[in-house]
């Protein structure tokens, strides 16, 4: 008698519940003959690409035999399949060099998620209820074709809308081409924590609408304005590796790291010095530093460059004397002077330590204000001032492949409206929107409530989702055509940053589809072909598109071709032929464009504005992308839910961070239930007392608070987006997600909703004797 049956036996005498437990279903299963030839216990490694964020890290996937449950002609059974077992960083990949973040590790659970949509679904109940029935692919595609024909016939092709993913990828290129040929506007992509402000600023400053790549490995001084470059921002894995080398990669040299932010983020936690600053005044501090650098001629070379490179700075930014900067930013004047000397590499309070090259970084919260562009331009100018642009240890821009050129695409879709504008139109009485296609994004969850996106969707007559999960947006769809998971499909993306040389992350499928799903790219091609006015794209399948497009790139190895190489190595990297390189080119070293300063000084808005009056809403509200869930797109992965948060050790929870002194004043204790209220909404969550946050700031991680997003995320925690004011950065229209004011009120004692892994947060506890 084995142990289990022994437990059961004892249980029978102990509990009646045991009656249900007899018999072990596995034993009734039939074993089917596998349709792949599998060597048991033999692992093979195949390359792939992490889909969870735009930095598109390279993966090496361990593939082995595994027993999957299947139904064959009505009989349930198990069959051996070749299944992905473990995602590992691709050591050769120029972005992540074999490293992988926690999210990348957990990405495999996307493929094996128990609540993944396994076949096409057609809505049966009301929208948002989530009741669907299974239908065949043919029927599903026929419905889409019919609708598109109808739209085309009505001559309102422009009324077809598409919610797409951000970033440069072959997938997006194909979608864009499809829409262009159909006559619809380009896909709308919306990222709550997107960096459009910085792209715009870089376009102004350097002529490159792109996020920078930092050479931390060779920096000696990093001055970070609010970015979470070691956690979630830009290319975290690439940056983390470089950071490690900056600290300990060089014999006898240890780079210095200063973090400027109103909150000590996960990234800030690694800093040597934290400079708490009044939210939104980062640009002012940067100009204050520039002021001192020029005034004191900290380094003659620098002073010269100031006058030479930066027209309009000859007078040395008189408005930004340290004393004024102190008034505006709350950073002490002498501290401003010290930082300036350290950063510019002059004689500093860091004795015998050279601090050049140094680099200033801006991202995240510093951009998320109504004056985000000003902040970004100021920091760009500061970098130019100390000459850290396009030099070792400074910032540069990863050469980009022009996919459209590489794929020889002709169509240029009409530019898309902003999501906010689109929602407004859709809600207006004269709404022309007839159909919406959603490519696995979830803006309903992340867009400010004031945009009424959900109501807008409710008014759209026909919605198709290609998503794999029933999230807040998919649940509004009439038709769900589930995509393959990334491990089951061809992928190709161009990382925007994180590598010195040009990179294309690409790979083929590593395993057969687990469910009755189809690659969205192929579905679109199929639909295109079936239309009355067929859209004849030059390829039958997405694979053909990749094969064709890679022809534009040189082979990486002798006697091979780029596409074969890419499928073996998990991507292509090297020197991009000029013909397919994205213009305008970033001829290194990047020079600061002369007009930047005029823009800086010309900017109407240098001070941030906040929604909600300070008397009624005394706190700045600082939502931030969660290290586990980003904006919420990975909240459905159990490994990430149970992974302790870096700063709080919280699992399966959400919380609001509050300064202990403030909490004491309000009688709020660790774990207490609190209401956080803005002029636009209220969320109820647990309080976490953190000494790493300014007394007048409340911070809250995004990602939780899903109403529907699989068994693991639904109804868990609260979503800070519910509080956000619809204020935007004026010049780009990007959401100024750090510009909302809130108040907080204690509701009651902790009710266990805040689950912490750590017991204590102080190592040395003093007990008086």
């Amino acid at each position: 008698m084995d142990r289990r049956s022994f437990i059961k036996l004892t249980a029978v005498s102990g509990t009646t519940a045991a009656l249900a437990s007899c018999g072990n279903p596995e034993h009734q299963l039939i074993r089917f003959v596998p349709d792949e030839d599998i060597v048991p216990g033999q692992a093979v490694w195949k390359p792939s690409v992490c889909p969870l964020c735009p930095s598109a890290c390279g993966l090496t996937v361990r593939v082995m035999g595994a027993e999957a449950d299947v139904v064959r002609n009505g009989k349930a059974g198990v069959v051996q399949i070749l299944a992905a077992k473990k995602l590992e960083g691709n050591p050769e990949h120029p972005v992540n060099h074999g490293g992988l973040c926690a999210r990348g590790q957990a990405a495999i659970q996307v493929t094996y998620h128990p609540d993944r949509i396994a076949q096409p679904l057609k809505r049966t109940g009301n929208r948002g209820v989530g009741s669907y029935e299974a239908i065949t692919w043919d029927a599903a595609i026929a419905e889409v074709v019919a609708k598109l024909n109808e739209i085309a016939a009505s001559g309102k092709a422009g009324s077809l809308a598409f919610f797409g993913r951000s970033g440069s990828s072959y997938r997006n290129a194909l979608i864009g081409e499809f829409l262009a040929r159909f006559g619809a506007p380009a896909p709308m992509s919306y990222d709550l924590f997107g960096d459009d402000v910085l792209r715009r600023a870089n376009a102004v400053s350097f002529g490159v609408a792109q996020l920078p790549t930092f050479d931390f490995a060779q920096s000696r001084y990093v001055l970070n304005f609010g970015s979470d470059f070691l956690g979630t921002w830009n290319a975290p894995v690439s940056q983390s590796r470089a950071y490690g080398d900056m600290r300990q990669g060089r014999r006898g040299v240890r780079g210095h790291f200063v973090h400027v932010d109103s909150r000590l983020s996960q990234t800030g936690a690694s800093a040597d010095e934290w400079v708490p600053i009044r939210p939104g005044t980062e640009g002012v501090l940067a100009l204050g530093i520039a002021h001192v650098v020029i005034r004191d001629k900290v380094r003659p070379a620098v002073a010269d460059r100031a006058t030479a490179a930066i027209a309009g700075w000859k007078d040395g930014l008189p408005d930004y004397a340290p004393e004024r900067v102190e008034e505006m930013t709350g950073v002490k004047a002498n501290r401003v002077e010290r930082l300036a000397r350290e950063f510019a590499g002059g004689p500093s309070v860091l004795p015998q330590v050279r601090t050049q090259p140094g680099v200033a970084v801006i991202g995240g919260t510093a951009l998320a204000h109504t004056n985000g562009l000003f902040n970004a331009l100021a920091i760009n100018a500061l970098n130019a001032l100390v000459g850290s642009v396009g030099v070792p240890g400074g910032l540069a821009f990863t050469p980009q492949l022009d996919i459209l050129a590489a794929a020889k695409m002709t169509g240029r879709p009409t530019p898309a409206a902003s999501l906010r504008q689109w929602a407004a139109d859709a809600l207006s009485s004269a709404s022309s929107v007839q159909a919406l296609l959603v490519d696995g994004v979830n803006p309903v969850f992340t867009a400010p409530r004031a945009w009424k996106l959900r109501d807008a969707l409710a008014k759209v007559p026909f919605i198709v989702s290609f998503g794999s999960f029933l999230d807040e947006t998919s649940v509004m769809a009439d038709l769900i055509l589930p995509d393959h998971s990334f491990l089951e499909s061809f992928t190709g993306a161009v990382p925007e940053s994180g590598s010195a040389m040009a990179v294309v992350s690409a790979a083929g499928p590593v395993m057969k589809p687990l469910h009755q799903t189809r690659a969205t790219t192929d579905v679109l091609l199929d639909v295109g072909r079936q239309l009355e006015k067929p859209i004849e794209l030059p390829w039958q399948t997405f694979e053909e598109m990749l094969t064709a497009s890679f022809a534009a790139l040189p082979a990486m190895t002798e006697g091979s071709d780029a596409w074969t190489d890419a499928q073996e190595k998990g991507g292509w990297w090297g020197e991009i032929p000029a013909a397919v390189r994205l213009k305008p080119d970033t001829a290194s070293p990047v020079r600061l464009k002369a007009d930047t300063t005029s823009v800086v000084s010309g900017l109407s808005r240098t001070q941030p504005e906040f929604d909600g009056d300070a008397a009624q809403y005394p706190f700045h509200f600082l939502p931030y992308p969660s290290n586990q869930f980003l904006d919420g797109s990975t909240a459905h992965l159990p490994w990430l839910q149970e992974m302790p948060d870096p700063l709080t050790s919280a699992m399966w929870s959400s919380w609001v961070e509050i300064n202990p002194a403030t909490a004491a004043k309000l009688g709020i204790a660790q774990g207490d239930v609190v209401d956080v209220t803005s002029a636009h909404g209220t969320v109820q969550t647990a309080a976490f007392l953190s000494p790493g946050i300014a007394p007048d700031v409340l911070a809250m991680p995004a990602g939780q608070g899903h109403t529907t997003f699989t068994r693991y995320a639904s109804g868990r925690g609260a979503n800070p987006v519910d509080l956000l004011a619809p204020v935007t950065e004026e010049s780009t229209g990007a959401v100024a997600w750090a510009a909302t004011r809130v108040k907080i009120a204690r509701v009651g004692d902790g009710d266990g909703r805040l689950i912490l892994f750590a017991g204590e947060f102080r190592e040395h506890q003093e007990h008086g004797r």
Binding site: R3, G41, E67, A68, D69, K86, E88, G89, N96, G99, L100, A102, G104, Q105, I108, Q109, Y112, H113, P114, L230, G231, P236, S240, R241, Y243, G244, D245, Q248, R254, L264, Q266, A269, S270, W274, L514, P638, W639, L640, Q641, E642, M643, P644, D645, P646, L647, S649, W652, S653, P660, P691, G692, I693, A694, R711, R716, I755, F757, A758, F761, E763
Partner: protein
Amino acid sequence: MPNWGMAVDLDRCTGCGACVTACHAENNISTVGAEQAARGRAKHWIRVERYWEGDFPDVTLKFRPVMCQHCDNAPCEPVCPTYASHHTPDGLNAQVYNRCIGTRYCANACPYNVRFFDFFNPSWDKPLHLQLNPDVSLREVGVMEKCTFCVQRIKATTIAAKAEDRELKDGDIQTACAQACPSRALVFGDLSDPESEVSRLSRSPRGSKLLEDLGTKPKVAYLSKDA
């Protein structure tokens, strides 16, 4: 005979937690869910400790990844009545799940609190089970589990090397956590080879051992931020 050990460079560690998830992925560690996690049943063979120092505004935060230190003088070993927790010739503190009867004595004896107990039969919502690593045995209710230094990887690579009869090179064997670590804070290797990177790091003046004064002879070196 190799002597496996690890070095953790606290100056590189950013607290990102990739190692934690990597360990779950490699070693078939089941998630326990919110309710059980709240009852202290979460199993993280490697955890990233975080400690605040000072108060606003002069506050700093220290991260410290802690996994089994594979003590050469391991308190968890002599107390185990069944030899489930025992030392291997190559310096690992091995845990034989099938021999463990669940007295949890070893966990009390472990000063680092890195031993975790299966309070229930681990389960995976299908088809999440397809991810399970066939090289790592699943645990039953009532047994202790802990960091093994990814012994399955050590064995596989060693056997492979033998088959191709070549010497193991430093870096041939990587634990899942070290492999994932974006900032290269974790370095695994053979301490008996003075040239290996882990030996070199362990000799660093920045290096120290955790709770060394207890005489457990831990084999994980922690390299402090400041030299």
